[in-house]
């Protein structure tokens, strides 16, 4: 019983830590994925915007969904939401609390991706280089509109023959990178301030409801874990009984059909017990055959 209690306490205290750990790993994985990813802007007029914005927004959606999939609490919440009422009332505050905590954790990896993308700058340069005003940059001011578009589209590609050593290309690139990094740092600052305020101001509003919601959401989580553990324990005992019963029924059948009643000898009582009266190759084979062809009913 002590061991059970230790295991359950471990699960209880660690449930939040496990979720936080998974969150952290996902955020690190998102940074790693970005650095491994070989960003290659197509440098073509319409493709640039699609590619740049696609790389900025599609992976965060995938990371968000991953965050929801990997979070066990999501299933618990959905279960609680969809269960028939039965004899236990449903508390919407608990469901809302669980939902908000799941969403907050799942949002971390996408936000990390977007911030890293903006701070790096390549995406924004790729997406918005064609939208720059050519008049602002010396190298592009005196060209026709179509040509200017083509040249601007090639700004993200340093090694292209048209833009190699082009100082205006570098100017556009620096300008866009500056905007991108400013945006990145601003988003980071805003999010940290919001998180700070939320955490500090929360006790001022409705602390009692929050404590209740947190308690009951932990309870629902623990209850489900314990139910699964009990089911496992139960199925193990069920299987144990079933197999013992099977061996005993085989032993009885053998007793019925043999002329040899096993004598109570002074031999190894313990071993005889374990043998369950099955002491012959054919008896064993018959037992194994029976087990395969006719499993005992449940």
């Amino acid at each position: 019983m002590d061991r059970f209690r230790m295991i359950f306490q471990y699960f209880q205290s660690k449930s939040e830590s496990v979720m936080n750990g998974i969150c952290g790993l996902l955020a690190l994985a998102s940074v790693k994925m970005y650095t491994c990813f070989d960003f290659s802007c197509p440098c073509l007029p319409w493709y640039n915007m699609a590619y740049g914005l696609g790389i900025m927004f599609v992976p965060p959606i995938a990371l968000f969904l991953c965050g929801l999939i990997l979070n066990r609490q999501c299933l618990v919440m959905l279960d609680e939401w969809r269960r028939p009422q039965g004899r236990r009332k449903k508390d919407l505050a608990v469901i809302r609390y669980m939902c908000s905590s799941i969403m907050q954790r799942a949002m971390i990896a996408p936000v990390v991706w977007i911030v890293v993308t903006l701070l790096d700058g390549k995406c924004l340069i790729c997406a918005f280089s064609s939208s720059m005003d050519p008049e602002k940059f010396v190298g592009f001011a005196n060209t026709s509109l179509v040509q200017a578009q083509q040249l601007l589209a090639k700004v993200p590609c340093k090694d292209d023959e048209l833009t190699r050593n082009n100082t205006s290309r570098k100017a556009v690139s620096r300008y866009l990178r500056c905007w991108s990094q400013a945006l990145g740092w601003s988003i980071l600052l805003i999010l940290i301030v919001v998180a700070f305020l939320a955490r500090w101001l929360r006790p001022c509003f409705d602390q009692a409801t929050l404590l209740q919601a947190r308690h009951w959401s932990n309870y629902i989580d623990m209850e489900q874990k314990i139910f699964e553990e009990t089911c496992c324990e139960h199925s193990r005992l069920f299987a144990h009984k079933c197999i013992l019963h099977f061996f005993q029924s085989m032993r009885q059948e053998i007793k019925l059909h043999s002329f040899n009643l096993p004598r109570e000898g002074v031999g190894d009582e313990g071993e005889e017990d374990l043998l369950q009266g099955i002491t012959d190759q054919d008896q064993v084979n018959k037992l194994l055959n029976m087990w395969y062809y006719e499993k005992p009913p449940l």
């Binding site: 493709y47 590619y51 696609g54 790389i55 299987a239 374990l274 043998l275 005992p296």
Partner: protein, 338 residues
Amino acid sequence: MDKFRMIFQFLQSNQESFMNGICGIMALASAQMYSAFDFNCPCLPHYNLAYGLGILLVPPLILFLLGFVLNNNISMLAEEWRRPQGQRGKDPAVLRYMFCSMAQRAMIAPVVWVSVTLLDGKCITCAFCTSVPVGALGNASHPGLSQREMKQVLARIPCKEIYNGQELIANEVAIRYLNCISQALGWCFVLLMTTLAFLVRSLRPCFTQAAFLKSRYWCHYIDIERKLFDETCAEHARSFAKVCIQQFFEGMSTDLAAARCHPPRKAPADVGEAAKKLLGITDRGTMNTALKSWHRCKPPLHLHPPILPSGNGWAGEGQPPTQPPAPRREMAAYYSRV
């Protein structure tokens, strides 16, 4: 028994984590395999497509099958599917649950391979370089090239060292274009897969939770029953072997004593346990005979009940009257089933 229980509980509660760990390892292995693989586009018109699509699609199939092979539960599924009905009904929902959970886990490594391949871009570049829109990206009016010759030139796009169509279409432009298409496909594929996984996981509690709980319970039950049965059989085999060997040694010792026409020496009372374990064999010759006999003529798989102390030492006493008395011949005991 307590230890067994704890180990079982640990395995059971962690079986999901264990299987998830294996999935993660296979996914990492698949990414590592791709990076270790030396991709060599043939740069010939029809071979490119075959090679590129082959590298994109054949390893995932192999990884999927490997995922099934490495999963211990596949034999459990096969056994449950093929067993005769007997006294226990079969539940197709349980079989479906087992198959679905195995298939989901086996899908992870192939999906990782396809995503990494598409995001890297080399496969698509190799496979579709002959389909690049030359009109939009390059100089379509470049004279002197028939359709076939143009395809041959375009097929060399992935091989920068031998590419000779710079006037037709710049190599970097074509590669950037193809990479962009490949990466877009890759991210869309990743998004599609995560959306599917999310829907499968989250729609289940909304619809079939009760049936799911039942299937999961019985699936675990079948697994535990199989393991417990194997354990019980192993214990039985151990006891069987122990008694069989003991009876063999006793038989040998009694035979040798009878052959030498003197009663087996009684061990002095104070030697105790060790003397008992010697089973009456106390010199080299006897031991050698015992070992030879064990090698040449193993005893039959039939344990006779223990010999009563009032007997005169014949090994044949106590055997069922329907059997021939010699203990060394193989005996077939058949009990008819009614």
